[in-house]
């Protein structure tokens, strides 16, 4: 069979930085071709070059055996290339239906056919098994819901090559499984698929071929079946170590006590976190687990209930009040709530902590100290490239996430609340983050981890609360924490 897509010696440089160097690969029709690699390995860059978003510095792209050059995404779309990019592309003020049909709006006589537009959107959403109001304003939805819109958009119309860049990064188990089914079906119908993910089991599950990139260089292409260990070794250049760090130890006194907390999306939640303890919060998409974390952090007002930190009632329940009281919150959407994209990365690391972290002298910022501190912290999480003076925007998704995690290390907090801390982080870095979380807990802080990744929760938590419809539906500890036990409490 001839290749649907072939890359020959593709390279891409951003200024002095070489993101892709001489990469060649082939994707056959009906084949699922996974691309793996560490954060910053060049996966997204490869995909952007294929979709007309970046012009390659050199090399050739052949589609159907013919050389093609994309100057804009439209040209790629016209050939039947559909892409879900790693970062969200949502028109915030438009409806879900409009976002899904963006660029391919159905018309009658030149005018938008609203009914057909909504029908098409509903149809594709139901294919994904998602129940979303197609008239809702897309900007108001949670990150995972927006992710589903992106995926839905790529499934509209006839695709010949479907490219998915970490589509499941912020999805829960069931949505992910559903997506994989669709991908499999499409491949069966002869669509070529490029699939990028850091979730090993997905790749093992679905890929026919796996290509591994490292530092922008093509390292290896394996044909299924492959072993996870071999892939990890190819990716990080050494055998996989232990992923989950979890040191169960004696827990101290309660550092966070929440009683009967209610807010938008949160109903009467009570929970407790002790010093030295990692507490997981599990729930389906839209279950309210993020809302719970955001309410705790003071990002949305509570209607009723009490929150004690270190046994003391906290003053103003605003984000800065909670920070002062000792609660550090890590948002799930790094682009929207985490980073200042057009400033040097170190500024995002020290954001809001300049004074409290001792980075000022006589009220003036000590810029050298600031940069050094940010370098130190990000080094622990293996930021790549390790140059913190680059704009945050220029980092790969996973590396942006690392900067966000590094910020928390700068502050003295008694409670750390992570919302989806490992979204888009590679296997190696994940281990670093888990180690970080573990050592934070061992250092005497209480840690709350909100996550859709059940294996992750099982791997690192001392206790898990399960949230459904805004209520805490169960509490599991120790050996009780199993996938099945959690899933049972989802409904």
């Amino acid at each position: 069979m001839s290749a649907l897509l072939e890359l020959r010696g593709l390279s891409k440089a951003f200024g002095p930085f070489i993101a892709l160097s001489d990469v060649s690969l082939k994707v056959l029709a009906g084949q699922v071709h996974a691309v793996m690699g560490e954060n910053g390995a060049g996966k997204s860059t490869l995909i952007k070059a294929l979709s007309g978003l970046h012009a390659p510095s050199s090399g050739e792209i052949l589609f159907d055996g013919r050389p093609v050059r994309f100057d804009s995404p439209t040209q790629a779309t016209d050939l039947g290339i559909r892409t879900v990019f790693q970062e969200l592309h949502i028109a915030p003020h438009m409806s879900v239906a409009e976002n899904i049909t963006l660029g391919s709006t159905p018309t009658v006589a030149g005018l938008i056919d609203r009914r057909r537009m909504r029908d098409e959107a509903r149809a594709v959403l139901s294919r994904l098994g998602v129940d979303l109001d197609v008239d809702a304003r897309a900007g108001r939805l949670s990150r995972s819901e927006q992710q589903l819109i992106e995926i839905a958009r790529s499934l509209i119309g006839e695709a010949r090559l479907l490219i998915l860049d970490e589509p499941t990064a912020s999805l829960g188990e069931s949505e992910s499984r559903r997506l994989l089914d669709i991908v499999r079906r499409l491949a069966g119908e002869g669509v070529g698929v490029i699939y990028v993910s850091h979730r090993m089991h997905e790749v093992l599950d679905i890929a026919d071929v796996v290509t591994v990139l490292r530092d922008g260089v093509h390292v290896a292409t394996h044909t299924a079946p492959v072993g996870a260990d071999a892939l990890v070794e190819a990716m990080i250049g050494r055998p996989a170590g232990q992923l989950y760090a979890h040191t169960p130890g004696a827990t101290g006194p309660a550092v966070l006590e929440v009683a009967n907390l209610s807010a938008v999306g949160v109903h009467d939640a009570s929970l407790v976190v002790h010093a030295g303890e990692v507490v997981g919060i599990a729930g389906l998409i839209g279950s309210g687990k993020s809302e719970l974390a955001r309410t705790l952090a003071g990002l949305q007002p509570a209607r009723s209930g009490t929150v004690l930190i270190g046994g003391k009632p906290c003053g103003a329940r605003t984000i800065s009040g909670m920070l002062k009281a000792g609660l550090m919150y890590y948002p799930s959407d790094r682009r929207r709530e985490g980073l200042v994209l057009r400033r040097p990365l170190y500024e995002s690391v020290t954001l809001g902590a300049l004074g409290s972290a001792g980075l000022t002298r006589f009220g003036l910022i000590d810029r050298r100290a600031e940069r050094r501190r940010a370098e130190e912290l990000t080094e622990r999480l293996a930021l790549r490239p390790a140059d913190v003076t680059r704009h945050a925007l220029l980092y790969s998704g996973g590396n942006q996430q690392k900067a966000l995690i590094a910020r928390g290390l700068l502050r003295q907090a008694v409670v750390h609340v992570f919302d989806e801390p490992t979204v888009g982080i590679d296997v190696g870095a994940k281990a670093d983050v888990y180690a970080q979380i573990d050592s934070t807990a061992r250092g005497g802080a209480g840690v709350v981890v909100v996550s859709s990744d059940l294996t992750e929760l099982i791997g690192i938590s001392d206790r898990v609360y399960v949230v459904a419809e805004g209520r805490i539906r169960g509490e599991l500890r120790g050996d009780e924490i199993t996938e099945q036990a959690i899933a049972e409490r989802f409904f």
Binding site: L88, H93, S104, S262
Partner: protein, 337 residues
């Protein structure tokens, strides 16, 4: 662990949430209605204070006065939705005025003048829009700078053409139809504006090219990735704005009977103000045509009413300033409620 306030039982919470949600919905509805209500309240207040306010002559006056600003504000709204800004609307009005007056004066009386006037105005508007649009979209010069530059260029050229004096001799065939003409008692400019209002509404809500502007302004990268021609969309937006401004210039010239290089300057800020009053965001992606109409009417009624009430002009300045802030502020309060 000591609870500071013993939470009410679950039933109550749910009920309370339901009430809160209902209240927010009502508040949202109210918010959408705020501007219409404000315009209405203003109208009623003036009508009580000064009965002449409601006389048909005065109402037609307000309508006729609002036409120019409406057309320009609509154009401005289209550009704003694309997260751009057009400061050259005023200069476009002036430039059109000078060109149309010179050309039609040269043509002389007769229906040809009317046709030529309309054609030339549209051509000028399209040309200015293309100029702005190309520089912004292709060259990626920020629209603030581009249109500020265009303003300066157009003003300079208009002054060169007129040598500082107004251009007279606009044929009556233009003035009598577009300036003072009326159909069934409704002035022609009002009819033209109404038609263009409908057209813009249709364009922005039902035509893909118009609808895409909300995506381009809301998230240009998303639009590009979805295969929308972002550059083309931007250029189109400036062309629409230029054309609407030029039509306003044509109507104004027909109304005044002369071509003037110094006309239109006050429309720049007013058109943005009217659009923002109507809920258009300066950061793009948001804007509803009929609300811009209300914004224009609000400004028109306010100034007409104060004039009828003989409010001193220094005081009018202060009142208008305060009301601009309050009108938007009241909506914000509702939003928070």
């Amino acid at each position: 662990m000591t609870a500071l306030s013993t939470g009410p039982d679950r039933q109550t919470v749910t009920q309370r949430i339901a009430v809160a949600v209902a209240r927010t919905r009502v508040a949202n509805r109210l918010m959408l209605l705020m501007l219409p209500l404000l315009v209405l309240a203003l109208g009623v207040a003036f009508a009580i204070l000064e009965p002449r306010f409601l006389e048909s002559g005065n109402i037609i006056n307000v309508a006729r006065q609002s036409v120019f600003l409406l057309l320009i504000a609509l154009g401005q709204m289209v550009v704003l939705i694309n997260a751009q800004l057009d400061l050259s609307v005023g200069a476009t009005v002036a430039f059109t005025s000078v060109i149309v007056a010179s050309a039609t004066a040269a043509i002389g009386e007769g229906p040809l003048a009317l046709v030529a006037g309309v054609g030339i105005a549209i051509a000028v508007g399209v040309a200015v829009g293309l100029f702005n649009g190309l520089i912004v979209a292709v060259w990626r010069v920020p629209s603030f700078m581009t249109t500020l530059g265009t303003t300066s260029i157009l003003t300079g050229v208009a002054l060169l053409i007129t040598k500082g004096a107004p251009i007279t001799g606009v044929p009556f065939s233009l003035m009598d139809v577009l300036g003072t003409g009326a159909v069934a008692g409704i002035p022609v400019p009002v009819i033209v504006a109404a038609l263009l209002l409908l057209l813009v509404t249709l364009f922005m809500t039902r035509v893909p090219a118009g609808r895409n502007m909300y995506a381009v302004g809301g998230n240009a990268e998303a639009a590009r990735v979805a295969g929308i021609n972002v550059k083309g969309t931007l250029i189109l937006a400036f062309v629409v704005c230029g054309t609407l401004s030029a039509i306003a210039g044509l109507l104004l010239t027909s109304r005044l009977g002369s071509g003037e290089a110094s006309v239109g300057g006050s429309y720049v800020m007013l058109s943005i103000a009217a659009a923002v009053l109507g809920g258009t965001s300066l950061f793009g992606g948001e804007g509803i045509v009929w609300r811009v109409l209300l914004g224009v009417l609000f400004l028109g009624v306010l100034s007409n009413g104060m004039n009828l009430l003989h409010v001193a002009s220094y005081i009018q300045e202060i009142v208008i300033g305060a009301v601009l802030i309050l009108a938007v502020g009241v909506e914000r309060l509702r939003e928070k409620a």
